[in-house]
């Protein structure tokens, strides 16, 4: 049973460029949440998608946008990249209502902005 798959694993971009990160959720999960984790910090909530709609959003600018497809997979897009966007981006899948199993996380995409 595949867990959460994220691609790519590593990415280097230049300031001002745009990036798209991809996530395939665990089989049976319908909700995808995205997190940004800076080095030595905890994951910061970006947004959550369910039924192809953004249901919750954290304190991130509009440069961060996303999408969920009918097969529950998701994309995170970041425009006009800043040096401060360098981080590990984590995708987590779950059911909309919490279960005893919590979130299933992917291994993340390490984004470096130069």
């Amino acid at each position: 049973d595949a867990g959460v798959t994220q691609s790519p694993t590593h990415l280097i971009k230049t300031r001002g460029q745009q990036v798209t990160l991809r996530c395939s959720p665990k089989s049976g999960h319908d909700t995808v949440s995205w997190y940004q984790q800076a080095l030595g910090q905890g994951p910061q909530f970006i947004f959550q998608y369910y039924e192809e709609e953004e249901r919750q959003r954290g304190n991130f600018p509009d440069r961060f946008s996303g999408h969920q497809f009918p097969n529950y997979s998701s994309e995170l897009n970041v425009n006009a990249l800043l040096l401060g966007d360098s981080a590990l981006y984590l995708c987590a899948s779950s059911l909309l209502r919490p279960t005893n199993y919590g979130y299933t996380f992917g291994s993340g995409t390490r984004l470096t902005v130069v």
Binding site: V4, T31, S33, Y35, Q41, G42, P43, Q44, F45, Q48, Y50, R55, Q56, G58, N59, L88, L90, A92, S94, L95, L96, R97, P98, T99, N100, Y101, G102, Y103, T104, F105, G106, S107, G108, R110
Partner: protein
Amino acid sequence: SQQGEEDPQALSIQEGENATMNCSYKTSINNLQWYRQNSGRGLVHLILIRSNEREKHSGRLRVTLDTSKKSSSLLITASRAADTASYFCATDARMSNNNDMRFGAGTRLTVKP
């Protein structure tokens, strides 16, 4: 914004000792979860405790929840070198009907062989 805060930020113990990490949060919750992260990898779910539960066990893990103090603790008994990792608590917000988890900054645990 972060909901939970872990304490201590870092903890170093010898193999075989117990490790206790604490988490405090600000608003009422539906449930609290603990996760583990090995360096630079994804997080792994350890245990979920609901707001109407006071204690939960899973193997060598024991989690307590005190909603009156808005705090939780994670106890790892008989620690092993393989337990070396960062540990995070995550909470939802009672006002939210969704499984929308916010994480603290974590406790970095080092278990020396």
